[in-house]
């Protein structure tokens, strides 16, 4: 499909959302309890936030729930029946930030690799991602370093840009098209000057990122060739509390374990989030553990995220620059801090 660029008047935003709510579940940034902003099902159009700081938890759980049912197992008395569980519900992710849209695109590419993961893909195929470009950097974000923001050139179905009076609506896919064709009267083709304004806003947003960002290239060179000393890994992991929060809030982390849960007299085989920072992640039945020490697990995490070997496979680093690990880490092992330490060969005291 040829990409098209439209304009939506801001005051029509609510009307559009009401249309979208009739198409399926709309998941968007909404107020949770207290002051928290969370990604959750929007009960009505007015609940959807347009001006917000990105929630601590990314919308990854829409496509990859923390406990993801894969197979139903039942003993019918004569024998066991097994059947796959699929989630084909149509969903719209609305007002996701660029980093989170890119995170979902990353997960989808990974699950498409042979052998393709049907459980994930069926859910992802029914998900329409409507992203909201960032006209200013968020407090902890460094998406300019990971090519996943502040504006996107791919990885979305529809990208919205706040132009002041209007939203610019860039439609990139068939799924995206369905979300605008359901309310044709609300949209008109964008003018040249509106498109120029979007370009200007993107350039301005890029310029607002400070120097304190995340320089992956030289870190990648060192991580890929094993030129990070053991002592530095030890120092980096000194303040890791092995809580796994960095994994769970990361839009690109997908490591999992498989467990059977008892349900209705049978079982449901589930995929569950796991963390490479846990000792038991590599613990074998024999008792042998190839990564018994925290520094080894830290090394593993950053090899998977930053190495050229994985960059070659995934066409991006395993980071979308959202800055959530900075916020979630109870210690000091966030992506920018570690990349910086690797790059300089020493921990920044």
């Amino acid at each position: 499909m040829q990409p098209i660029t439209l304009t939506l008047q801001k005051r029509d935003g609510t009307q559009w959302l009401e249309k979208l709510l009739s198409l399926g579940e709309v998941i968007a940034p909404v107020h949770g309890s207290g002051e928290d902003v969370i990604f959750s099902t929007a009960a009505c159009a007015d609940a959807v936030l347009w001006d917000f700081v990105n929630p601590l938890h990314p919308p990854k759980r829409i496509v990859l729930p923390q406990t993801d049912p894969l197979v139903k197992i039942k003993d019918n008395g004569q024998g066991h029946e097994v059947e796959p569980i699929y989630d084909d519900a149509p969903r719209i992710l609305f007002n996701a930030r660029s980093c989170d849209a890119k995170g979902i695109a990353f997960l989808t590419r990974m699950h498409e690799m042979e052998p393709a993961d049907e459980s994930y893909l069926r859910r992802a195929l029914r998900l329409t991602v409507i992203s909201l470009a960032c006209t200013a950097p968020c407090p902890l974000g460094f998406c300019v370093c990971t090519n996943s923001g502040p504006f996107l050139s791919d990885g979305y179905d529809v990208q919205l840009t706040d132009l002041g009076e209007n939203y610019l609506v860039e439609v990139a896919s068939q799924k995206g098209h369905a979300t605008v064709s359901c309310a044709p009267s609300l949209f008109r083709p964008a003018t040249e000057s509106e498109i120029a304004q979007r370009k200007r806003l993107e350039a301005e947003a890029r310029n607002h990122f400070g120097e304190e960002t995340c320089h992956f290239a030289s870190a990648m060179r060192r991580v890929s060739t094993g030129r990070v000393s053991d002592a530095l890994w030890q120092r980096i992991s000194d303040w890791c509390l092995e809580c796994g929060a960095c994994n769970f809030v990361c839009p690109t982390c997908y490591c999992f374990s498989v467990k059977d849960l008892g349900r209705n007299g049978g079982w449901v085989r589930c995929r569950m989030w796991d963390s490479c920072q846990y000792t038991a992640f590599t613990l074998e039945a024999s008792g042998h553990n190839p990564r018994p020490e925290r520094k080894e697990r830290m090394k593993r995490r950053f090899f998977h995220k930053v190495s050229a070997q994985y960059y070659q496979r995934d066409a991006m680093v395993g980071c979308v620059g959202c800055g959530r690990c900075i916020k979630a880490c109870l210690g000091t092992t966030s992506m920018p801090a570690v990349v910086n330490a690797i790059r300089k060969g020493k921990w920044n005291e």
Binding site: P84, S119, S257, S286
Partner: protein
């Protein structure tokens, strides 16, 4: 698209005690019709479900040349294997697979083959051994060296005797610690190298066993002139999915489940944690 996590229901058609904590399970697909056999290569593994307990990877211990059923030999060592050990004939389990690369049979054609197994490391070799013995004319000299901690810990006791009697197989067995009934070799596996003549230039060596045994056996093989590419082993890692997705078995950017579990020593050296 086939669902990669959906197991196929199989039945246990035989359960046989090997040692006090190890059993061999013979499996057969419940709906086994024409051609619905388990197609695999020696050295590959599969994910075995004990329903309600989850699944875990086990090597296939039988040869693909005997396709009606397939076997796996499992030591009781955790919740899932404990539950598996409680199952008997006719009971059902789930099977996914086969997974992994398996041994390269074509590369072994015409070569002399040396199998060195320790303890519970024999099952993956057994799949290849029986494949080779069932197509004996395709291969050169076959030598099998096997050792275990005690005579009780030897697996496939019946077959060990059979291999010992075959004129087309050179077989030696040893135990670390003998009991009163044992009249054979006593000592660790590498002592068996003294009992046989090796031809490193024409031989492929397959080594499976506990890490400590592998270390000494491989060192001895190199001292005797084996090249790294001629020494082949299977790696073990904690695994969940078996298809390179869950990341438990990753070593660098390689996955034991997909790129392995069979590697030669040249390849193993290149694996960077």
């Amino acid at each position: 698209m086939n669902n990669v996590y959906l197991p196929t229901v199989a039945q246990l058609v035989n359960v046989c005690d090997e040692t006090p904590d190890t059993k061999t399970f013979t499996l057969r697909f419940r709906e086994q019709g024409n051609g619905n056999h388990f197609h695999f290569l020696p050295g590959q593994f599969f994910e075995l479900s004990v329903f309600g307990y989850g699944e875990a990877p086990f090597c296939i211990a039988s040869s693909p040349t005997r396709p009606d059923t397939f076997e796996t030999t499992v030591r009781r060592t955790g919740q899932l294997t404990d539950a598996l050990h409680r199952l008997g004939n006719g009971e059902e389990v789930g099977v996914r697979g086969p997974f992994g690369n398996g041994f390269d049979l074509e590369a072994a054609r015409g070569k002399d083959l040396l199998f060195v197994g320790g303890g519970i490391g024999l099952p993956p070799l057994r799949s290849l051994i029986w494949n080779v013995l069932d197509e004996r004319e395709k291969f050169g000299k076959v030598t099998i060296l096997y050792g275990a901690r005690t005579p009780t810990d030897l697996v496939y006791k019946q077959e060990l005797q059979e291999w010992g009697k075959r004129p087309d197989v050179e077989f030696h067995v040893t135990v670390d610690v003998a009991d009163t009934s044992w009249t054979g070799n006593v000592g660790v596996v590498p002592i068996l190298f003294e009992k046989t003549t090796l031809h490193p230039e024409s031989t492929l060596a397959y080594v499976c066993g506990p890490p400590i045994m592998i270390r000494f056996v491989v060192r001895d093989l190199f001292v005797r002139g084996f090249k790294e590419e001629a020494v082949i082993s299977t790696l073990e890692r904690m695994m969940q999915c078996g298809i390179g997705k869950c990341n438990h078995c990753a070593i660098g950017h390689r996955y034991v489940c997909r790129d392995g579990p069979v590697f030669n020593y040249g390849q193993i050296k290149e694996l960077v944690e």
